[in-house]
Subunit: 322 residues, 2 copies
Amino acid sequence: MIAIPAFATVSEDLERVELKMREALSSNNEYLAQVLVYLLQSGGKRLRPALALLSARFRTAETTKAVALAAAVELLHTATLVHDDLIDNSLLRRGNVTLNARWNSGATVLAGDYMFAWAASLAAETENVRVISIFAQTLVTICRGELNQLFGPTWQDQTKDDYYARIYNKTASLFASATEAGAVLCGLPEPQVQSLRAYGKNLGMAFQIVDDLLDFVGDARELGKPVGSDLRQGIVTLPTMHYLRRYPDDTALARVLTRQETEEAAIVEVVSRIAGSDATSLAFEEARSLARDAKEALMVLPDHASRRAMLELADYVVERRM
Amino acid sequence: MIAIPAFATVSEDLERVELKMREALSSNNEYLAQVLVYLLQSGGKRLRPALALLSARFRTAETTKAVALAAAVELLHTATLVHDDLIDNSLLRRGNVTLNARWNSGATVLAGDYMFAWAASLAAETENVRVISIFAQTLVTICRGELNQLFGPTWQDQTKDDYYARIYNKTASLFASATEAGAVLCGLPEPQVQSLRAYGKNLGMAFQIVDDLLDFVGDARELGKPVGSDLRQGIVTLPTMHYLRRYPDDTALARVLTRQETEEAAIVEVVSRIAGSDATSLAFEEARSLARDAKEALMVLPDHASRRAMLELADYVVERRM
């Protein structure tokens, strides 16, 4: 787990979330236990569970329920990663070999399903129908987003609206649900619930844009995956979109996106060209603007340790380098 | 949809379930709409939703909630079939080409995930925390069963307890949850909830044993899949278990189970040998006994159209030929 200073206020509860997620391991199936330990150890920033916990802290929510919600959110996220890797045939994720590269696809499908099931079961532990509904609806949104990515417009036809819709479905929807559900759980009044949802959504959008940027300007070792992995999969993200607007006739880029280019040096050259262009600063500016919107949404909330942590987190999300 | 006389009492609600399941189609994704129409048209007996509806009828449950529960149960079932086919690499299901054989595996994973998500969302519509928990727990059980099948004992080491545990996980758990959740939804007292759960469980066990039997003695055309498909996948079901107890040294059978035998005629010969042995009547007797247990469990319930339909259904389940 990667320590983020803003999480200090919920660090004890985050430990409980780790334990809660590991309960899913109490399976008599040795393979499954192995797989789950492997997946949960791979770590990640635990941003989503922290958001749920921070939101649930504005008033006093029952700790066990807040922890169950946070664990549900993170397990759902992990489950989608497992199936994503299968769908994309990715071989590296967070610097580790993906499940799909180590086990066969049938086992990977099942491990993901099992985590979905366990996540649904944890969500039910909150005993809050609205929280459970938010959770289920988010899963629908994430799947719909994945399907659109698989069957939606090609890179040539993709608009900026398509991109924004895609990163909402893929990432921001779960961030928004984590903060909304946490707020519902501790019984905040509806306007504050909606503000926390808006915070989560904007933070998630900023987070994903930065993720897409790091695929160009980040360090492959720190990221735990090769640079330009989106391009290699024919996926146009915001930096590429800005670049294409300026240089619509870059045929080398088109060759990479259509997977006609297989030479590593040529791919890296295209990645560097986008990384060095003003397309990245334009994309960074959009992320910063969304992070500002996220902070802005918190203004209706009372001054509170959670709010301070969330303000800090909005800065972290755009400043991070991994 | 295959009409079953015992369902007459809930036929209108079953129509509502069909419509409810089709709401999942209200997607702007054309591929997904195609896939779901295809999957839902493939039909099936709609046994599970009928069980939920019948159970919810003992007292007056809100129709919209009972229908949501029934649709959730059937969508969950359909989702598991979609992923199962991927895992088993089956090419035919209910006489139709499977999704996996028509589309690529990534799309198949997603279509299944989307149905899981939609099912969870429908379960949440019942607004009943216990019903939602039953639902989530069942999904955990089904996945655990699948994983055990993939990584559990080999056919040589499989005991009858293993077989019973497997068919509970795979089939009876969802039958039991459908009846239990229906009973909870209409507010039956706990002993009657438990009786309906026991009915569902025993009915599901009987149903699966008969399914496994039909794989030997059924008609390939009516079943919509080749006979002996379990054997061909190296899966030992109850008839084979009885047969092996009597003829432990049938090397031709061992060759089929280890997939060393590829000659169609030789496989069909082994299937016929088991079908013609007393192994099948022993297995049928177990199914009949479970169906009797199912009926027995209904004795504490008041005389009611639902109870009469359920008694009839217990007979249907063991007498059916497809």
